[in-house]
Every structure is written in structure tokens, then in C-alpha cells.
């Protein structure tokens, strides 16, 4: 029982991080039908921003997190303006390839500054609580708690504010909505900013939980978060969160009860089966192309 609870905690921590990153993929896809493959690298830049702030300015956790989120949000908007906006009318494939290029650019930009793995300084001391044989660290509480808060804020923005209404409207039909006087470009920028900021928050929390960071750290995690977004139904905000927790649950679950050597094989096999049964993901809805 303790074993099961401990593994559940492990899965919740990993799932929160996947979910935060998956949100960035799903938001951009929802509004632009673009798979932003650079998002995993924005997550990496977020981790390095937090590292820079913590190592050189010595700021504590909250301002470090906020500044990293703001910086990466600005970077996200800049990338959209410079790289994606000129291609908005181009074939979707061009934009996706551009996104891959932007990701590689970000990795190598970071390599220029810092080619070696770095140790993330501690932003706050770690407390360890043990109940019986169950261990719980303050970082786990922070990661799970803060992720939930950020997700609730996002859900509120998307579902309850005017901006969220505009985002959902553009996602529903990007051609008619501008005719109604919705400032499409500003809404798209806001979407990129929010997605990138969540990615940076994930990067900061990730660097605290796994304190060795390097320029390629976003690649594998980015793919996994993308898969989580697809499993949840890409384009659907709640689906991304659900997908993140399912992916982490399956990964940890397989490793916990089956030989770890087959972890990726079994967990991704399961996800494939799920996609065969529900091709649009758990919460995604099939989109009918009108002729």
C-alpha cells in the first residue's frame, strides 16, 4: 500500500510537469492548427532563465519563477511574430518545419552560451516528511500544488474571460471571427505568451526537481508532453492536463509493476492502442472539413 501511494506521488509530480508543457502545445494548436515543435525548447530556455536568475542574481523562488515566465513569454511572442506569422497563409507543413528549425536554433543558441550540463542552485530548502515509510518532499508539494493553481488560472482565463472567448472563437473559425472585430493578432500573441509562460514555469519547477540542466533537456520531455497533448485530444485545454497525468501514470505504473526495461515499449504501446480506439484523443472532437 505504501509502495502504491509512493508511486502515485511520483506519478503526480511527473504528470503535473507533463501537463504544464502539454498545455503550450495544445493552446497553439487549438488556435493556429500549428504543432509548435519549438515548445520543448522554450521549456528548456525557461529552465536556463531560472538558472541564470538564481545563479547570478541570487533571487529567491517566487521572483525567479515570475521573471523566467515573463522572459520566455516575451520570447514566445517574438518567435511567433518573426517565424510563424509570415507563414500563416503558407501550407501548414512549412510552419511545422519552421517550428522544428526554431527549436534547433534555440538549442544551439544555448550551446553557444553554455555547452556543459549545469547544476541548478537550490531556490528553496527541501523539507522531507516521512509518514511511516512514505516520503514526501516539499518540492513535490510545490510542483503538484503550483501546477494545479496555474492550470485553474488558465482554465478560468479560457472559459470565463473575454480573451478566452476570443481564443475559443478563433479556434472555432479563424476566418469569420476577424470580421466581427476581434483583434486576431493580439489574441494569437496572448496565446503564445501564455503557453510559453506555462512552459517556463514547468522548466523552472523541472530544474528544481531534477537539478542538472543542459541544452537538450527539452527534446525528450517536449516529445512526451506533445504525446500527452495528443492523447488528451490536441486543441483541448482540459484534455492536455488529463493526457499529462495519464502519460505519467502509465510510465510510472509500468516501471513500478513490470520490468523497467520494457517501460517505454509497454507505455507507448498502450497509448497507441488508446489512439486506435479514440483517434482524436480522450477529450478531442473530430473536426469535419466543410467543402
Amino acid at each position: 500500500m505504501v509502495y502504491f501511494l509512493q508511486q502515485t506521488l511520483n506519478a503526480l509530480q511527473l504528470g503535473s510537469l507533463y501537463a504544464l508543457i502539454a498545455l503550450g502545445y495544445t493552446m497553439v494548436y487549438g488556435i493556429l492548427r500549428l504543432i509548435n515543435f519549438a515548445h520543448g525548447d522554450l521549456f528548456m530556455v525557461g529552465a536556463f532563465a531560472a538558472f541564470g536568475i538564481a545563479a547570478w542574481l541570487g533571487w529567491p523562488f517566487v521572483p525567479t519563477l515570475l521573471l523566467s515566465m515573463a522572459a520566455v513569454a516575451a520570447l514566445g511572442v517574438l518567435i511567433e511574430r518573426l517565424a510563424y506569422k509570415p507563414l500563416r497563409q503558407a501550407p501548414k507543413m512549412s510552419a511545422v518545419i519552421t517550428a522544428l528549425g526554431v527549436g534547433i536554433f534555440l538549442e544551439h543558441l544555448m550551446l553557444v552560451f553554455n555547452p556543459y550540463p549545469r547544476h541548478m542552485p537550490e531556490l528553496m530548502p527541501v523539507h522531507l516528511w516521512t509518514v511511516g515509510r512514505l516520503s514526501l518532499s516539499s518540492h513535490q508539494v510545490l510542483i503538484i500544488g503550483l501546477s494545479l493553481v496555474l492550470m485553474l488560472i488558465l482554465d478560468w482565463v479560457v472559459m470565463r474571460t473575454k480573451l478566452g472567448l476570443a481564443m475559443r472563437a478563433i479556434a472555432w473559425n479563424g476566418r469569420i471571427v476577424p470580421l466581427m472585430g476581434v483583434p486576431v493578432n493580439r489574441v494569437i500573441s496572448a496565446t503564445f505568451a501564455m503557453g510559453a509562460a506555462l512552459g517556463a514555469a514547468a522548466g523552472t519547477l523541472y530544474a528544481m526537481a531534477y537539478p542538472v540542466i543542459d541544452p537538450y533537456m527539452g527534446v525528450l520531455v517536449g516529445w512526451k508532453a506533445f504525446i500527452a497533448a495528443v492523447v488528451g485530444g490536441i486543441g483541448n485545454v482540459r484534455g492536455a492536463v488529463l493526457g499529462g497525468f495519464i502519460l505519467a501514470g502509465v510510465e510510472i505504473g509500468v516501471a513500478a509493476f513490470l520490468p523497467t526495461t520494457y517501460r517505454d515499449f509497454i507505455s507507448f504501446g498502450l497509448l497507441l492502442v488508446l489512439l486506435v480506439v479514440r483517434p482524436h484523443g480522450l477529450l478531442g472532437r473530430p473536426r469535419l472539413e466543410k467543402v
Binding site: 509512493q6 511520483n10 556543459y116 550540463p117 547544476h119 531534477y210 542538472v212 523497467t260
Partner: protein, 387 residues
Amino acid sequence: MMCNKVLAVGIAVGMIMSSAWAGKDPVIRIGLIAELTGDIPAVGASCKTAAEQAVEEVNKAGGLEVGGKKYKIDLVVQDNGSKADQAALCAQKLIAQERVLAIVGPNASLGAVPASSIAESSKTVLITPWSTNPKTTLDARTGKSKQYVFRACYTDPFEGRILARFVRDTLKFDTVAVLYDVASEAPKSQAELFRQIFTQAGGRVVAFETYTSGDRDFSAQLTKIREAKPQMIFLPAYYNDVPLVVQQAQRLGIKVPFVGSDAWSSPDLIKLSQGAVEGFYFANHYAADAATPTAGVFIKAYQQRYGKTPDDIAALTYDAIGLLFKSIQVAGKPERKAVRDALASIPKYEGVTGTMSFQEGSGDPVKSGVILQIRDGKFVWVCNAAP
């Protein structure tokens, strides 16, 4: 037919030119293939510095005396970019174009395996300083030893064996858990040999868990290991994974010590783990703090030249070049086949990384490893581990 003629003329001209050139100035050309760029530039840099030092020492003394004649050594350095295909290309270029007598390098097994196949088929001696993969000196198809390929270091299975012996016989632990990267060749063979030998010696491996290169979260595996209650955890992982594993283990309340492989041996391990690896043991090729007189001379000269303590790669490169010089002298003439025969049966060579010898039929030296412990952020010698 036409082609053959051109080729034959070309070869003839090449031979005349090279023999004429060799006649004028007694020079022995030695190739060095190092990872100067790419994933592990630190490895290539160490290798090159040590090689240059070894060559300069001989040249300053007037050259290498072979068969009563003094030869100057000419070192031809090639960068393989830490890539397998480029390593093979470097070997080809050194053998065919630069016409070197023998090659030292590459260091990483990734490049050493393909480069050694080229050397073998061109009948040119290749000594790798640092490649521990058995496939470097073994022909994968026939399972037999390559004739022209040698190494200055021990092999992965050997390391798994000495670590298992150390944990069982010296530390006297009964139960051990193993966690390794299943996608990386060296850790895999070390882990498997460790389990085999440790079990044979009466110990029990209570958990045998894996992860995949690039993983950062080891919580599921470590929770599993915690349930198995081992007395020690064997972690044959690269130095950048080690701090993450150790820290996550501590956060899960695991208090048992870890033991590691030669991949731990980087000053970066200390920097990245911030004291979390204090007191842990690992196996390595040599210990800079417990130097023999031979090693002491090398370490001092290296420090004077480059202002830092040589790492295991520098020491092994120096030994690889030393072995080569020695076998050229024993052969009595700078010829590829004669050098190979001399090297294959060197009875005893006193190197920086210990005494080594080769037995006919194997390119792997008979030599010891060392066990180090991390104390106050430094690697401290604990004991030698004989084969």
C-alpha cells in the same frame, strides 16, 4: 584494365616517393585520432595534450632509438568529431594518405570500433587509450581477436568484475541493487557482469532496474529499489546522470551508499552533485594521488606543461604512446607487421596506469584497475583491483 594500370603506376610512384622521402630524414609518423569537437571535447583535449607531451619528450632527447638509428617522431592529429563515420574516415586517411606507422585513438568506443576495423583490414597497428568496449578488439563476426588492434585500458566486463569483487569481498555487502542505462552499451555490460560475479560470490542482487538515456525521473525505479532494501546500489552511469539519481534517492529516504563505474571520473561529478556523492566508491583506470614513481614523473611534467592534474584519458594516452614506442624499439625497425608482433607479446610494460602485458591472441592488456572513494570532494585511492 586501364584503371588497374593507372592504379599500379600510382602505387609505384607513391612507393618510390615515400621511400625516397624516408631515406633522407629518419622520421616515424604516428597518427592520433581524438574527439576534439562534438559531444566530448574534454576527452579529445586530454588525449591530445598527453600525446603531444609524450612525443615532445622523445624528440627532445634526440629521437627514438630503433635498431641503432635515431628517428624523430611526427605526430599527425585528426579530429573525429565524436562521430563513428568520421573516425573511420580519419583512420583511412592516416593509413592511406599520411602513411603513418601506427595509430593511437579514438578514445570513445563509438569511434574506436569502426576505426579499429579499418586498421585491422589495412594491417596497421591501432592502440585505443580509453575504449573499454570488448568489440573494439574483438571481431564481431568471427568472435576472434583482431590482430592489429590493442588497447591501453581494461574492458567493461573486467570493470563489472572488479566492482563486484570489491563490494562482496572488501565491503562485505550481501545485497545490492543495480540501476543502469539500458540504451548505453558500457553500463549494460558492466551491470550484467557485476550481477553475474556478485551472485557467484554468494551475494544477492535484489533489484536489477533500468532507465533510458535522457531520462531525468528515476522515482519509479528508486521506489522499487527502496522496497528491495539493498545494502548498496550499483550505478554504472555517466557523471551527469549520477547527481540526479543520488538526489532523488535521498528524497525518497534511501540512505544506502552508491558505487559507480569509470564514467563517474570527471571533476564535473563533484560540481554537479554538490556533496551528495560524498563517501561513495567507483572504479577507475588510475589514481593520481597514489602514483607509482613512473606515474609521478608523468604527472609532474604534465602539471608543469598544462597547469592541471592529468585525468585518466591523459594517463592512458601517454601509456598507449609509450607502449607503441617500446614495441617499435623491440621490433628493431619501423615496419607495421614487425611492430604488431612486438606489441602482441610485450611481457611487461611499466606504465603510468600500472604494469601491463599483452598475451598473443588478445589485444586487451593484463592490468589492474583502482577503486577510488570521494572524500571532501576529491577522488582518493582506496585499493588496487587485480585481474
